[in-house]
């Protein structure tokens, strides 16, 4: 696409984006809700989005699918009061809807697969009912204007005439960073055009390209994005991405997940865990040096912990020796 067309496209999307931003009052309500309260809290929402990210990675869905799913989720949650117990169903419906409408090359998994892998407790008919509700409430037909839309357009603009810049400014990396930001609820309030621009600038600053930076200023002027707004989000993006890039690894919690194995393996695990030996320990060097005078054993070995072996069966350990220790 040539520069003129790009700018026109940008303009068109910019005018549309208002429709796709979640209701602010709804988002505020979620942010102020306490954990374990009556409604959905920010932490709940973030956890759900993390889960959706996991499923998208596993099934190989495109970034488009994931971003769209998050968008649908945020808009729905801001609009309707959802009970926490229904949140996982809502989340999965958004993901399924997004997968169905997004890029056709993604191998579509049936609702059954999603439910099974996602370890959810509801049925496929529950899922399709919820999908209908979500689509209806959001007047969702096929797509939405998301930060990703802008990111793709900005990227093309930044590349400009030299496609060799693709090596330096990686779209894949930008997409990963966008996904990282979306996992945090605070970014749902941002306008897609602003968020995407903040992200792009953050990366361009990192690779220190003067002319690409110029391009972004040009875009900002074209879309008439306020400096203050851009700066505000740029700071938040910087903070989020520095957390994302930290090499610290947290200890995951394996107990939250469901571990299903075949009967054979379950039997194997059971039998191998109960291999307690029934012969009492024989300490090296013997427990009573006076019992044998001309032994060829080395009796002057280090510490001998006999306390454990004295708990053996009665018949084995002579009574008169037990009293000695």
């Amino acid at each position: 696409m040539d520069a003129f067309k790009l700018m026109k496209e940008l303009r068109a999307n910019y005018e549309q984006e208002g429709y796709y931003i979640p209701k602010e009052t709804g988002l505020n309500l979620i942010e102020s809700t306490e954990q374990n309260g009556a409604g959905i809290s920010a932490k709940c929402r973030d956890a759900q989005v993390e889960d959706l990210w996991g499923l998208s990675s596993f099934f190989g869905y495109s970034t488009q699918t994931f971003v769209l799913a998050v968008n649908l989720l945020d808009r729905f949650l801001a609009l309707m009061r959802v009970q926490p117990k229904h949140l996982s169903c809502v989340g999965l419906s958004c993901l399924h809807l997004a997968a169905q409408r997004s890029a056709p090359d993604a191998t579509l998994s049936s609702g059954h697969e999603l439910i099974r892998i996602g370890q959810r407790r509801f049925t496929a008919s529950d899922l399709s009912r919820m999908e209908k509700i979500v689509a209806e409430k959001l007047h969702f037909t096929s797509s939405a204007v998301t930060p990703l839309t802008f990111l793709h357009l900005y990227h093309q603009v930044a590349l400009g005439q030299s496609p060799s810049r693709k090596e330096v400014l990686s779209l894949e990396k930008l997409e990963a960073q966008l996904k990282a930001c979306l996992r945090c609820m605070s970014f749902s309030k941002a306008k897609p055009s602003v968020l995407a621009l903040a992200l792009l600038r953050h990366e361009i600053k990192a690779i220190q390209s003067e002319d690409m930076w110029e391009m972004t200023c040009h875009v900002q002027r074209h879309l008439k994005i306020a400096d203050a707004e851009l700066q505000c989000w740029a700071e938040r993006v910087a903070r989020c991405l520095s957390d994302y890039a930290s090499p610290r690894c947290s200890r995951p919690n394996h107990k939250k997940l469901l571990w299903v194995v075949s009967r054979r393996t379950a039997q194997n695990l059971q039998s191998s865990s109960c291999s307690v030996p029934d012969l009492p320990t024989i300490p090296e060097g013997g427990w009573d040096p006076s019992q044998s005078e001309d032994s060829s054993e080395d009796l002057s070995s280090g510490e001998e912990s006999l306390s454990s072996s004295l708990e053996g069966e009665g018949a084995y350990f002579p009574l008169h020796l037990r009293r000695r220790r």
């Binding site: 995951p252 191998s272 044998s292 054993e297």
Partner: protein
């Protein structure tokens, strides 16, 4: 997951009951077998008891036939059985009855009853025999043997037992003969032998080095010569209790035992019979001295089964037990080769192997080790996990792979994203490479097509049809030539140059003996 265990009712199959197989070792039957029932020990005055005791012990040195003639000498067999039973009770409930003269009598009685050459195995060997399914061959003389074992054990365990006195009679020769019996097919006998040898090892410090050496020899012979011995599991169980009692720092002899004997035991085909005991020994060693971890893990990886999947599952069991006790500093030394092997296991088309490997992710300690070293480990595991999330045939495995990937995601998201990108990049590179290769072939083809000789060389217009090969069927010319001759088609005898000696020999045949010279006979 359902945990129902299939329990086999002992010795019963559908319609035909499998007969219990008995064998008896070649006991030399005593000539004078009629035993007079002696007075009960409780009826005799304490001063007379020792003499009577010895009499009964000597009675029990008479041997009977239980196999070829099971109904023979029933009355006298009962006398012996009752005497043995009585003596078991006698030494259990009485003090100071084990006097010095008793020792040689007891040892002799045991030796006479027990020490024998074991019969050759009547079970099929090799792949046909499944130690877990097939019935073992049992000792027919068990009614007596059991009581002799029981008695000897009580004798050893008695508070009055004095190793200093006994060591004159329980010597190296005795121990050697005892060890020979471990090859018995009767599991009840092996169980008694195990306990007996365990007690002897505990009480006779002077015999310990000898016992260890002889056990080593049995293992060496098993690993490198015969691959057949019924008592490996029992011997390993005894060794487990010995290893557990090792003093620190570990002696060099013991370390060598681990590396030269225990680890090679993993190689043998019949590993399933004794694997739990072997794994226990190995883990005990590592609990005693963690610096042995690296050689142990590397050896396991070296011996890792490549074509035997049930064995692979056993190795995975053992490896997890080792990881349960591993020091973090040792873990770092072995993590890369270890996870490379795990990546292969996770990709295995055998569902039990893949499941067992993936179940490692449900182990909290292993997870903590992995998360501390995720930067090194995730790049190794990721491709195997991600690839199989798409292609594995088994649904349960799918779910487990998801769990594993999810846990990795929780550890560090950026690392996960980087691995994903890396994976995609490699895949694209592969695609590009194969595309390039295909294009190169097409270019060669086009080059060949542009050669003016092209149309001459290619016989048939359709490039895709298979080209006919030259077979041995006669060609058109051959057929035409044959039709010109008279009669049906006959195959012509090949015309080979004739050897003159062969022709002469065929014309005037001579007997073999005439032709052989003394030199030919060796």
């Amino acid at each position: 997951a359902t945990q129902a265990m299939r329990v086999r009712p002992p010795g019963s199959h559908s319609a035909t009951k499998k007969e219990k197989r008995y064998s008896t070792s070649c006991f030399p039957l005593s000539t004078n077998r009629d035993l007079q029932k002696l007075t009960p020990l409780s009826d005799v005055a304490p001063a007379e008891q020792e003499k009577l005791f010895i009499q009964k012990l000597r009675q029990c040195c008479v041997l009977f036939d239980f196999l070829s003639d099971p109904l023979s000498d029933l009355k006298w067999k009962e006398v012996k059985r009752a005497a043995l039973s009585e003596m078991v009770e006698y030494i259990t409930h009485n003090r100071n009855v084990i006097t010095e003269p008793i020792y040689p009598e007891v040892v002799h009685m045991f030796a006479v009853n027990m020490f024998r050459t074991l019969p050759p195995s009547s079970n099929p060997t090799g792949a046909e025999f499944d130690p877990e399914e097939d019935e073992p061959t049992l000792e027919a003389a068990w009614p007596h043997l059991q009581l002799v074992y029981e008695f000897f054990l009580r004798f050893l365990e008695s508070p009055d037992f004095q190793p200093n006195v006994a060591k004159k009679y329980i010597d190296q020769k005795f121990v050697m003969q005892l060890l020979d019996l471990f090859d018995s097919e009767d599991p009840r006998e092996r169980d008694f032998l195990k306990t007996t040898l365990h007690r002897i090892y505990g009480k006779f410090l002077g015999l310990r080095a000898y016992i260890r050496k002889q056990i080593n020899n049995i293992f060496y012979k098993f690993i490198y010569e015969t691959e057949h011995h019924n008592g490996i599991a029992e011997l390993l169980e005894i060794l487990g209790s010995i290893i557990n009692g090792f003093a620190l720092p570990l002696k060099e002899e013991h370390k060598i035992f681990l590396l030269k004997v225990l680890l090679p035991l993993h190689k043998v085909k019949s590993l399933s019979v004794y694997h739990p005991q072997l794994a226990y020994c190995v883990v005990q060693f590592l609990e005693k001295d963690s610096t042995l971890t690296e050689p142990v893990v590397m050896a396991l990886l070296k011996y890792w089964p490549k074509t035997h999947s049930p064995k692979e599952v056993m190795f995975l069991n053992e490896l997890e037990e080792i990881l349960d006790v591993i020091e973090p500093s040792e873990f770092v030394k072995v993590q890369e080769p270890l996870f490379r092997q795990l990546a292969k296991c996770v990709s295995s088309p055998h569902f039990q192997v893949a499941e067992r490997a993936l179940y490692y992710w449900n182990n909290e300690y292993i997870m903590s080790l992995i998360s501390d070293n995720a930067a090194k480990i995730l790049p190794i595991m990721f491709p195997a996990l991600y690839r199989n999330s798409k292609t594995h045939w088994n649904k349960t495995i799918h779910g487990l792979i998801y769990n594993a990937l999810k846990l990795f995601m929780e550890m560090n998201q950026k690392l996960f994203d980087d691995c994903t990108q890396q994976f995609r990049a490699e895949k694209n590179k592969e695609k590009a490479k194969s595309k390039e290769r295909e294009e190169a072939w097409i270019r060669i083809e086009n080059l060949a097509k542009s050669n003016p000789q092209f149309l001459v060389c290619v016989p048939s217009p359709a490039r895709c049809s298979p080209v006919a090969m030259e077979t041995e069927a006669p060609s058109i010319e051959d057929l035409q030539r044959a039709q010109r001759t008279e009669g049906p088609l006959v195959s012509r005898r090949s015309e080979l140059p004739q050897d003159i000696y062969t022709t002469q020999a065929l014309d005037s045949p001579r007997r073999g003996e005439d032709m052989l010279t003394p030199h030919d006979r060796l």
